[in-house]
Every structure is written in structure tokens, then in C-alpha cells.
Amino acid sequence: MRQTPFYDRHSALGARIVDFAGWQMPIQYPQGIVAEHLTTRRHAGLFDVSHMGRFCITGKGAARFLRYVLTNDCDQLAIGQAQYTVLANENGGAMDDAFLYRPTADKFLLVVNASNKDKDWAHLQTHVSGFSDAVLEDVSETAAMLALQGPQSEAILRSLVTSGALPQARRNAVGSVTVGSTEVCVARTGYTGEPVCFEVFIPAQGALAVWDKLIEAGASPVGLGARDTLRLEAGLPLYGHELGIGKDGREIPVYAIPQAAFAISFDDPNRKFIGRPLLEKQAQARQRYKAGDFSDTGVLPKVVRQMRLLDKGIARDGAAVYYEGRQVGGVTSGTMVPCWDYTKDGDRIELRDTHAQRAVGLCLVNADVPVGVRIEVEIREKKLNAQTVVRNLENRSGPVTAAVL
């Protein structure tokens, strides 16, 4: 079982440690998942995500290689930007979803799920040999990775910068700054739905000093438990739930997730990439669905919808979903998530000191199940009322997020 450079910090803080994809990771600290979720939405949460796989791609052939193995087009990625992307397979399914960062002109960094890292590495290895001058390197152990998320995270990070400037305030911007005496790569990315969000890549030897400074400056440690509730509330997919192999044993087409639209690029008609023929068919199906045409759902029978329970209870992964009396699919992720109460004044909101909780989830349902309709979820042989929703969380000026109630 492997440990990240921050393992002793987690232990000292009293974290509950679990085995996750071969790593000993904090699932929660003594504050608990609910408090950690809420503090991220109001202040700033600090997440150890060093278990994630990180591959560095360099060399003259780097872009050509990445344009073949990834669905997004790295030629459209400016220096100092990052993009969501997918490692597709020939069936139009996902081997993994990932983020591709371009910190400098000649270097790409691909961050993949910890649970898929070995599989991804083997897959990329088999393909990289076909590209001369593309160098693929596993740098997971040479650098640590932290996520700092939430409204206060920018002020906290800025207070620690000793030289350089944070990347421009635009989603997915990437830059580099010095924190104390350590040069770190900073990206405005994350997995919480927070509009103010950072992920920081730190050389392993400077990692602890950066963690300590962030905690001292007011960031609260957050474990994997709240990482999951935060992404769920934001409607973000998780491989193994909304991507990969579904509950029915069948591969989930990448276009089942709405985020596919940002992760796949067909702009260059001459670019060949793994899975393209089927992904194009899925994209066309999405277009037809948008126009209300569900006559052919063969390549994309089901799509992921966000949902919210109306009755008391919790919809969990695997629960059957019904619409107009017939089963249309199942819940892929679901739990109870907390949310701050707030008062509203136009677009501005004021978070109150009290919080509520709501049972939210993601479900994979027939493509013709609309957003905004009543559905039922079967929980312990009872059918509970729920509804499909556009979103459970929205951005408000502040900038903060607020629960959509």
C-alpha cells in the first residue's frame, strides 16, 4: 500500500485512512464529511490528490501522439491552459477521463484517475511507440499534487506567493509561481464545482512545506469522502460510475455524460483519434435528441442526468429509476449532501450560518427522459419521488456556489 508525501500530516490530523486504488488515503478528518463539504463551499478546502496518475509528454511528436490517444485536441490548447479530455477506446467508451495541462510550450502533463493509472499507462505505452519523438514519462512520484478549492482559496494562495503571479482568473488557466522557496505549477482546475479553484503541482521535496503553509493560511483539510459529495453536487462524472462499464455490464458511451461536449473535438476533420468514428455517431445522436428526435437511440441509448430526491431517503448507486411507470435506468452515484442556507438578493446571495441537506444523485436513464420531470427511485422496495434537474448547484456572484432548491 502506497502513501503520498502527506501521509504523516493526515495521520497527525486524526484522519480516517482507507485503502483507495492501492493508496492509503484520508477519507475524512475528525471534522467529518459534512463539515468538510461545507467549509469548501464557504472558505477553502485542501485536498491531497497526489495519488492521481501524472504522465509527462514531451518531444517533437508529443502533440501528434496526444491528438491520437485523447479525444480533445491539444493543438487547441494554448500554452498556459488545460483541457478536459478522455482516453477513448475503439467502442466509443472511456478507458478513463483525464485533464491535460500545457504549462510550457514543449511539455504536456496528463492527470488520470488513480484507479486507472496502470491500465492507462499500459495503453499509452503501446501507442507511443508508433510516434517518433514523443516521450512518455510517469512523473507521479516526482511531484505531489494538492487541490485548493473554494471562495477563499485565491486569497490564501496569493498570500503565500513569494514571486510570480497566479494564472489569470479564467477557468483552466495554468501558470507557475513560487511558494516560499518552492516553484510550483498552478492550474485553475478542480473537481468540486467551485468557480474559485486551484490544483497545485509541487516537487516532492517541497511538498510538505507548501501543505503546512496552506493550512497555516487557513485552508481546511478535506478527505476523499467530501471530494465525492462535492463533485456529485456539482454533477461531475466519476469513472466507474458515470463512465466505464455500467451496471448492466455494458460500456457507457462517452456522450452519455454532458461534459463530453467539452472533452471531444471534431474540429479538425483530418485528425484521426481512437474511437472517433463511434464518438461522431454519438455526437450526432446528441444533436438529434436536442431536436427532439429519439427515433434512433442505438449508439447512445442512455444519458446521465442529474437528479434530486423529493421524498425522504437517499438514492444510491444501483437503485432503479422509473419514469411514467416503467424502468428507464438506474442511479450511478447518489448520497445526501449538505448545503448552506442562504438569503437571496437579485443575483447576490448571502450564506447564512445554518445548513440543510438534500439527497442528490446522477442517473443513467433512457435518452428520452427529459430534464425537469418527476421520476421514481426504488429504494428498499419502495418507490420514492424524485426529479431530474438541470443542476443541483449554481454559481453566484461572490463568486460562490449555491444550492438550487
Partner: protein, 129 residues
């Protein structure tokens, strides 16, 4: 208090205490509550519901999981603690007094003697749990 000396215990971390006559109060141990983490939802039975010994009498859910709770004694549910059901945070403060979950009228009160006593439960926690 992690263990109430007056209660008897099951391996699945429910406790029972004799109240009066054939009536027993039933709850979840402090150890179990601590292990669950944030408790976000509970289902408890209605009064009058018949339950079997070691049968599920309700569900307790944390953010991460849903767990059945099992009856230490068979019988008829006389009351459920709706205050705790609606405010599961109360369990963290006191698992054995205000945190009781149901009152059972036992059909075979002698089942109580078959449960682990406090010392045995303590030992069970140290060795097996």
C-alpha cells in the same frame, strides 16, 4: 460513554436495555456511531410492527453507506424515537440514554440473557471489531 454497563450487546453493534416488564429499549452503540461518521438519514419502524430477533428493524445511513440495524430481541415495536430519527446528530452526544431508537415489547424476554454483556462486548471490540 463508549459502553453502557447496564446494556447487553450484539456483534452488529446494537444494544438492548431492560426498561420494565417485557419492555426493552434498543439502540446503536457509541462505537458504531463513531464508525459511521456523519449520520444523515434514518428509518425507524412504526409502533405495532412485529420484528424478529436479529431481523432488520431500521436503516441508518451515513454519507458513504446505508446499514441495516438488527433487533437484539424479537417482539412488537411499542415506540420509535422520532426525535433522534429527525436529528441523528443527537446520537453522537449520547448513544445510550437520549439516543435510544426503539422500545420493543419482547415476546421472549429471556433472549436478553443470550446477548453479550458489557465486558464481553468490550472484549469483542478489542479483538474482533
Amino acid at each position: 460513554m463508549m459502553i453502557d454497563p447496564k446494556a447487553r450487546y450484539m456483534k452488529s453493534h446494537e444494544w438492548a436495555k431492560h426498561q420494565s416488564g417485557n419492555i426493552f429499549t434498543v439502540g446503536l452503540t457509541a462505537y458504531a456511531i463513531e464508525q459511521l461518521g456523519d449520520i444523515v438519514y434514518m428509518e425507524l419502524p412504526e409502533a405495532g410492527k412485529k420484528i424478529d430477533r436479529e431481523g432488520s428493524f431500521g436503516v441508518i445511513e451515513s454519507v458513504k453507506s446505508a446499514s441495516d440495524m438488527y433487533a437484539p430481541l424479537g417482539g412488537t415495536v411499542r415506540e420509535a424515537n422520532t426525535e433522534v430519527r429527525d436529528n441523528p446528530d443527537m446520537l453522537k452526544k449520547d448513544a445510550y440514554e437520549t439516543g435510544w431508537l426503539i422500545k420493543i415489547e419482547a415476546s421472549s424476554p429471556a433472549e436478553f440473557d443470550g446477548l453479550m454483556d458489557a465486558a464481553a462486548y468490550q472484549k469483542y471490540l478489542e479483538t474482533e471489531a
